[in-house]
Amino acid sequence: MLLSGAEAAGTGAVSAPGGLGRQWPAAEIQILSAIIVLCIVFSFMFPDSFATTGTLLNMARVAGILLVVAIGQSFALIVGGFDISVGSTMGLVSVVCATLMLSDFGVGTAIALGILTGAAVGLVNGIGIAFFRVTPFVMTLGMLTAARGLADWIANGGTMTGLPRAFAMFGRNMWWGVPSAACIALIVGVIAWLVLQRTRAGLYIYAIGGSLETARVAGVPIVRYQMLAYTICGALAGIAGLMLTSRVGVAQGSLGQGYELLSVATAVIGGVLIGGGVGRLSGVVLGVILITVLTTGLDIAGVNPFVQQMVTGCVLVGAVLVANARSGKVFRLFRNRGEP
């Protein structure tokens, strides 16, 4: 009974020794416990403001947007690089889509073209990194700057208002009683999981990140799949840009600032390895929830936003340290003494 229930739950719970059924990986358990502890602490401290439906819905909206970016970022991380231009991409997509909608394109067309813009940004990143062998840092740093410049240029450095009502509403709407942002994140998450787990492309992205040389020798078309990973990353940043634009109701070139580092941080907290080849979406989801709960709680507690940043930074490094301790890497330096 217990076993079959666990199997149905998808990931499987801790099961009989001998490994029948899958187990919750240790990393996920640790993050989940941290989330639960935080929720309990905040609920007791602020029963009137934290433990409310309003806060929960708000967190779902915030987490939804962040999760879409973080999933995109995970593709770039797993293939062995990263993308720090996702924040700028969000801003660019925001103003491109707004411009289209304000010049009488349909909302649907504008959204589609907006996502395509994000994918195009990602594709350019991918071409630079995979084909021309520019390091991911330099390429996406260049893109960060260039895309932000382009976005501000299109928006004349200002804010674009008067977006169609239909567009502005979808970011605040509830779908089936759930905030739309969370629904979109869920759909994106399921598709991303399918791509990573159920397609050859997903396998190749893991293989390239895990050992570029092995993938090359095995005959994997490396350039193509690296480009694909960055394109997916860009497209998801585009979707997140649209979600954020709709939520705040205005388009802005500077929209999405901060998401580049936040997306890397949440993915890494969730167990995605910088350097590639390792990472699960379940971990990324939990990483996003952890950061969202933490920042929301600190907000409610009235903690200075700068102090919040410090806390987030410490959580990031702490999570990686905990992960390393689990795999016994922390004291490697000391243990290897005497070896060449």
Partner: protein, 510 residues
């Protein structure tokens, strides 16, 4: 501690033993090195030479035995200890920081006092130039390391060893990757260093070199000392005989039976035909032809280029010129992706770096094969239960332990990893399989299984298998044709039924 001039051997190894789980790497080995002596350490791959050097330079510790320096017993437990006792190692690989000048590279980590990234101070320059002079290097100390050739880097490494205090120099295969003239030049320099009082212990495969140069030679076989000789005491044939393992009682010296060879259609083009393949610094003008269903072995000692040759056929390493044809059609060179599309798959020797993805599961590692069978897929998607069924077949077939498809491949033993690396190319249903050192670092039973697997694959699927190996024993009895590569030249083709271990060894040693 400085070693004073002293009569008798400067370095004595007494009764050194070292055991690894399941194997004795060294068994009661003695060695005496004197001042002004070039001492050659000879033996086949796996004879224990590297282990002995690792013990001498503090990388590993012996289980039994003593080391004496100038008569005093010493304990060498770290590489720093070895340095302090005046033992300097010239390693086999030429590792440098390419962007720094060669002078900076030579001094890296042994600078005295303040050091900067920039030009050498005048004192440093004098010091480095003196060392380079001694070994006859003619390049400027400020040349960036990336602009130097391999022989020049080798000289720089020796200069670095000379700068460290002490008079014992250990060279690990200094001439392995050098051409004849470059090796010749290097040996002249070793000769000169000897006259200046250095004691030189060096590991090599090149017997002709040893005959001319070494004052004394110590021969190891299977971790045991089999003889110590002075120059002129034994000839080349005798040396080969001593280096050779005693394989008469094992299957290794039985020539391949040609009876079970599949018939080859006379008018059909060979499965694999390589013409005039040349790669910079590794091998030149190598040609071979393998019919379907046959196994060709490329034998060579370390540094002879046999592994690079096989990798180049598979497009893994770049080539300068030459042609590779599969079933009579040219497939081009230089791209493993392209080669794979024509059914040419490679398993390189660098297992962890280039043959498996350590962090992925067994199943994912096998599924990387671009030509995985249709039964594992539906609608172009991966289906985990279908994949598992296919992979479980391999796991049972190859007796992989633990028998789970979801274990991370990094957690498996080397033998199991190698079997799975082979399984992946088998799943790719190749026309040509290229395998470099198929049983390197693999235990005896896994070795036998891998050999059986390769034989079965060739016979049953008709694919042409090319095996590069520096373990000659395994080629005998496995390969239908054996080619020997020596210093980048492929020659001396032998058919399986005439091949013996001794013949290969005789031809492979430069």
């Amino acid at each position: 501690m400085t070693v004073q001039r002293h009569h008798g051997p400067i370095l004595q190894l007494e009764g050194i033993s070292k055991r690894f789980p399941g194997v004795a790497a060294l068994e009661n080995v003695h060695l005496e090195l004197e001042q002004e002596q070039i001492h050659a350490l000879l033996g086949e791959n796996g004879a224990g030479k590297s282990t002995l050097i690792k013990i001498l330079t503090g990388v590993q510790k012996q289980d039994e035995g003593h080391i004496r320096l100038a008569g005093h017993p010493v304990t060498i437990s770290t590489p720093k200890d070895a340095q302090r006792f005046g033992i300097s190692l010239v390693p086999q690989e030429t590792l440098v920081v390419p962007e720094l000048s060669i002078g900076r590279n030579i001094l890296l980590g042994i600078e005295s006092g303040m050091a900067s990234r920039g030009a050498l101070s005048s004192a440093e320059q004098v010091q480095v130039e003196a060392a380079l002079d001694k070994i006859g290097a003619d390049f400027d100390v400020e040349t960036p390391a990336k602009e130097l050739s391999v022989p020049q880097l080798r000289l720089a490494q020796i200069a670095r060893a000379l700068l460290q205090p002490g008079s014992i120099m250990v060279l690990d295969e200094p001439t392995a990757v050098l051409s004849e003239p470059d090796a010749e030049h290097l040996l002249e320099r070793l000769d000169a260093l000897r006259s200046e009082g250095q004691a030189i212990l060096y590991v090599t495969h090149r017997l002709s070199e040893v005959m001319r140069l070494a004052d004394r030679m110590t021969i190891l076989r299977d971790g045991r000392l089999v003889g110590v000789y002075s120059r002129g005491e034994i000839d080349r044939d005798e040396m080969v005989r001593l280096i050779a393992r005693d394989v008469g009682t094992r299957t290794g010296d039985q020539p391949t039976k040609t009876r079970d060879l599949p018939p080859v259609a006379r008018d059909a083009p060979p499965r694999l035909e390589v013409t005039g393949l040349t790669a910079e610094r590794h091998f030149a003008d190598a040609s071979l032809s393998v019919p379907q269903g046959r196994i060709a072995g490329i034998a060579g000692v370390q540094g002879s280029g046999h592994g690079a040759f096989v990798r180049a056929i598979g497009g893994v390493d770049p080539v300068v010129s030459g042609k590779v044809c599969v079933n009579g059609r040219s497939i081009g060179t230089g791209s493993p992706e392209h080669a794979a599309r024509h059914g040419v798959l490679t398993v390189p020797a660098d297992r962890r770096g280039a043959a498996i993805v350590p962090d992925l599961s067994i199943r994912a590692n096998l599924a990387i094969s671009g030509r995985i069978r249709a039964a594992a897929r539906r609608w172009g998607l991966r289906w985990h239960d279908k994949e598992r069924a296919v992979m479980e077949g391999y796991i049972a077939d190859l007796s992989i332990r633990p028998p789970s498809t979801e274990t991370k491949i990094a957690k498996l033993s080397g033998g199991n990893q190698q079997k799975l690396a082979l399984a992946r190319v088998l799943e790719g249903s190749a026309d040509v399989l290229l395998i470099e050192e198929p049983t390197q670092g693999v235990d005896v039973s896994a070795k036998a299984e891998i050999h059986a697997l390769l034989r079965r694959v060739a016979r049953e699927t008709g694919c042409a298998v090319v095996i590069a190996s520096s373990e000659f024993e395994e080629l005998v009895g496995l390969a239908d044709d054996v080619y020997v590569m020596r210093s980048g030249r492929l020659g001396d083709h032998m058919t399986g039924d005439t091949t013996t271990y001794h013949k290969i060894l005789e031809k492979a040693l430069p």
